[in-house]
């Protein structure tokens, strides 16, 4: 059974109004625990329409846990974006940074999807620092079933 919720951390510097076209109806909620992974969006590519399905708005806060971009930071929770796909990558997350002369946006999506009996992380761990790499492997280990007889 998989839960299709994502925690998305948006960090942006610049005018808040510039964020809206990029992230549509961004809902806001504190980031949470989950399995992480990565996808990078290039340039000012907007997230595809319909991929961001906000759950609720909770919090406008100070800079988030991963990024140090100046300006406002926003923590969001969305339904799992469809661009994460339906296979192994759907249990992982998106990592994106959007930069322009006036706007810098960093996005991390943590999909709180349960890991099944085996897990595949492809081109995912390289997005994360050493601490997060170890955390992700530990979560994968914890999610796998126990060996027989243990």
């Amino acid at each position: 059974m998989h839960r299709h919720e994502s925690d998305i951390t948006l960090g942006y510097a610049g005018e808040r109004k510039q964020l809206q076209p990029l992230f549509h109806q961004a809902a806001i909620e504190p980031a949470g625990e989950g399995i992480n992974g990565g996808r990078t969006l290039r340039g000012r590519e907007p997230l595809p329409a319909g991929t961001i399905d906000p759950i609720e708005q909770v919090h406008h806060g100070p800079p988030g846990r991963r990024h140090q971009a100046p300006g406002l930071f926003t923590h969001c929770r969305f339904r799992a974006p469809s661009f994460l796909g339906g296979s192994s990558h759907s249990r992982v997350a998106a990592s994106s940074m959007v930069r322009s002369p006036t706007l810098s946006i960093a996005v991390h999506i943590t999909v709180t999807k349960e890991v099944t009996s085996s897990d595949v992380m492809g081109h995912i761990l390289h997005d994360w620092n050493l601490e997060d790499k170890k955390m992700l492997i530990a979560k994968a280990y914890a999610a796998l079933p126990r060996p027989a007889g243990v």
């Binding site: 940074m97 992380m121 995912i124 761990l125 994360w128 796998l144 126990r146």
Partner: protein, 74 residues
Amino acid sequence: MPPCRALLVYEVLIDDARRQNALGLLISLNMLIETPGGFDYTGADCTGWMRAAGFRETWVEHLAGPDSMVVGIK
């Protein structure tokens, strides 16, 4: 059929000596630029992290092209 207890990680792994796989090294540099702390790594790095997490058996296998996979068995 017994349940699978494997974690598969595939990546453009850097060779353990960090002398051969230029693409992996370039990807590592790219991750440093594109992400707050990301970096590419060697098979030995990954099997070490898996062992530390508790995986009892780990190995590295080359896949197609520059990709290799690291297998961890719980």
